[in-house]
């Protein structure tokens, strides 16, 4: 299913400071949106999507907001825009953070993400929406995160991730 959110969803709402005191991803998965949307952690299923408005993930730098959503099995976070630290944290953890306006999608619409054509396909509504998915995100998604990438390719491989300028 698609979990829909408005603008400016901050990381204090995703993993509130009072609960956010563990390094265990499974524990973090239990506290996602614990006060803001209490049913989320119980009902979320592997393969679900987040669909949000502008500035998703603003506020605190806490990477647990990404760790927790990843541990819940969220397949991709689709937002009109992301706050920068949250976006970086998604990139680093190999989580698909996709910039796209899907706010009119239904909660139960089935989605397919075409990473090559940079599109999100809504099967129920029979339409396609443009998406911004930089190659860096796709690459680190395939590696399942920058740490796995560096382990495999060595600490000096960082620059290979970026276009030459």
């Amino acid at each position: 299913m698609n979990w829909k959110f408005a603008n400016n969803i901050n990381t204090d709402l995703i993993t509130p400071g009072r609960y956010n005191i563990t390094t265990d991803a499974k524990e973090l998965a239990k506290i996602v949106f614990i006060e803001f949307r209490p049913e989320f952690a119980k009902k979320v299923q592997r393969g679900d999507y987040i669909i949000a408005g502008n500035n998703f993930g603003c506020g605190s730098s806490r990477e647990t907001a990404v760790t927790a959503l990843k541990a819940c099995g969220i397949k991709a976070i689709i937002a009109k825009s992301f706050a920068r630290i949250f976006y970086r944290n998604c990139i680093n953890q190999g989580v698909l953070a996709i910039i796209s306006d899907c706010i009119d999608f239904g909660v139960n619409d089935r989605l397919v993400i075409d990473l090559k054509k940079q599109r999100i396909i809504n099967i129920n509504q029979k339409k396609q929406v443009k998406a911004v998915i930089p190659s860096l995100i796709v690459k680190l998604y395939e590696y399942e995160g920058i740490i796995a990438y560096l382990k495999q390719n060595g600490l000096n491989s960082l620059e290979k991730l970026f276009p030459k300028t």
């Binding site: 204090d12 509130p16 005191i21 563990t22 390094t23 806490r62 990477e63 944290n89 960082l158």
Partner: protein, 418 residues
């Protein structure tokens, strides 16, 4: 083409001349991770390295909830202590990370990474100080480097002399109202103009600190005599070139914004967003009863802030229905307050003085709010649930407004007491 100060600092740290839009892998002068974000950096760190790249360039402060208020927090801090000992890095417990870095480490022209969203604070010293998550901090601790896309800069020119009772916090709240929570996203906010030139470094740190609330990657004030004076006061030599560490005349800005603050009145941000900013006078008329006043955080609890609080409380007792909590930003500020007699004065007024650190700002200890309680805070975030119950309401204002409100028990314009 000319460069902005941010482009110059990125260039100096990546060995080539770069401009907005370029990707760089830059060398860092310091990496900070604190008593929660460091815990999350340890496992990724050990997956890619055994030893940190330079133990003298890693700063680990315990500030978010120190001393540990519960077993979970004690466990995180214990994990970090083991890591710090293995790596030969001291753990500092002397106050809020951004304040300690400003007092002790940040030099103009530095490029610094901090695993905390309010890291832009240090830009008040003319450095680029950038907030990241724990994985970036882990990689930086291992390599001394971080990847960046050089961002666009927005120049914010502030002019006009502030009226009595109006402070840099009021200025930045006014700017936040214009920008909104996303207006500075991915950008460098560069503050200039005569008003900023006349601000001392502590007042500038309030501007740069709150820039995080507008989404900025970093915020910066070009260094000058005020910067030299601050460094000298903190027993540090100033070794920067005032001529080169400024944006060039022909540097490219995405946008230039002008703010005339000569008629600005005290401002306050209503919950739960940073841009719900009103004049304190307009809110005062509503007589909103408050339960807690928090004077603290990386935004506003330096000695200059406590000077104002001391002045406002001279002739008045504090309202007995209000819990007034003060957390000096650092051990240095605490000792300055002690030497000036403030600690005794505040304590006799029945304010609670907590140890230097983040205090109740993030709702983990030291003054957690219950349902429907109202807090006037000098901090930077009024998000739902930030300081405790999601039903609590947080208003953000200057230390002066907070101090005046502690007297009356409702949100109050400080000019009544100045």
């Amino acid at each position: 083409m000319g460069q902005t100060i941010a482009e110059k600092i990125f260039s100096q740290h990546s060995g080539r001349k770069v401009f907005a839009g370029d990707f760089v892998i830059a060398n860092l002068d310091l990496v900070m991770a604190h008593d929660t974000t460091c815990a999350w950096a340890i496992d990724p760190f050990y997956q890619i390295a055994k030893k940190v790249w330079d133990k003298k360039k890693i700063f680990i402060p315990f500030d978010h909830a120190f001393p540990a208020p519960n077993v979970a927090m004690a466990k995180l801090q214990s994990k970090i202590r083991v890591f710090a000992k293995e790596q030969g890095i001291p753990v500092t417990t002397d106050g809020v990370c951004h304040q300690i870095m400003s007092e002790r480490f940040i030099n103009p022209g530095n490029l610094i990474l901090g695993a905390d969203s309010h890291t832009p604070t240090g830009g008040g010293l003319g450095a680029l100080t950038i907030g990241v998550g724990s994985t970036d901090a882990a990689i930086a601790m291992a390599t001394g480097t971080c990847w960046f896309k050089v961002p666009q800069t927005i120049r914010i020119k502030i002019t006009g002399k502030l009226k009595n009772g109006v402070f840099s916090k009021d200025v930045i709240l006014k700017i936040a109202k214009e920008f909104g929570p996303e207006g500075g996203n991915y950008r460098i906010l560069e503050y200039g103009g005569e008003t900023v030139r006349n601000f001392n470094v502590p007042a500038r740190l309030t501007l740069t600190n709150m820039s995080a609330e507008m989404g900025a990657k970093a915020a910066i004030v070009e260094p000058d005599e005020q910067t030299s004076q601050y460094l000298a006061e903190n027993q540090r030599p100033s070794e920067f070139d005032k001529n080169t560490l400024w944006s060039d005349q022909d540097a490219h800005y995405e946008k230039v914004m002008n703010f005339d603050v000569s008629n600005l009145e005290p401002q306050i941000a209503e919950p739960p967003d940073i841009d719900r900013v009103k004049k304190v006078k307009a809110i005062e008329n509503k007589k909103i009863k408050i339960d807690q006043v928090f004077i603290g955080s990386c935004t506003n609890c330096r000695i200059e802030d406590l000077d104002v609080v001391f002045q406002i409380w001279q002739k008045s007792d504090l309202n007995s229905n209000v819990r007034t909590i003060i957390t000096p930003a650092s051990k240095l500020v605490y000792l300055q307050a002690l030497a000036k007699g403030y600690i005794e004065f505040f304590t006799k007024k029945n304010a609670v003085i907590l140890n230097p650190g983040c205090g109740p700002c993030l709702g983990r200890h030291g003054g957690v709010l219950y349902d429907n309680e109202v807090c006037v805070s000098t901090s930077n975030r009024n998000f739902t649930g930030r300081m405790g119950s999601p039903k609590a309401l947080i208003y953000l204002a200057s230390p002066a407004t907070a101090a005046a409100s502690a007297i009356t028990g409702y949100i109050t314009d400080p000019r009544n007491y100045l």
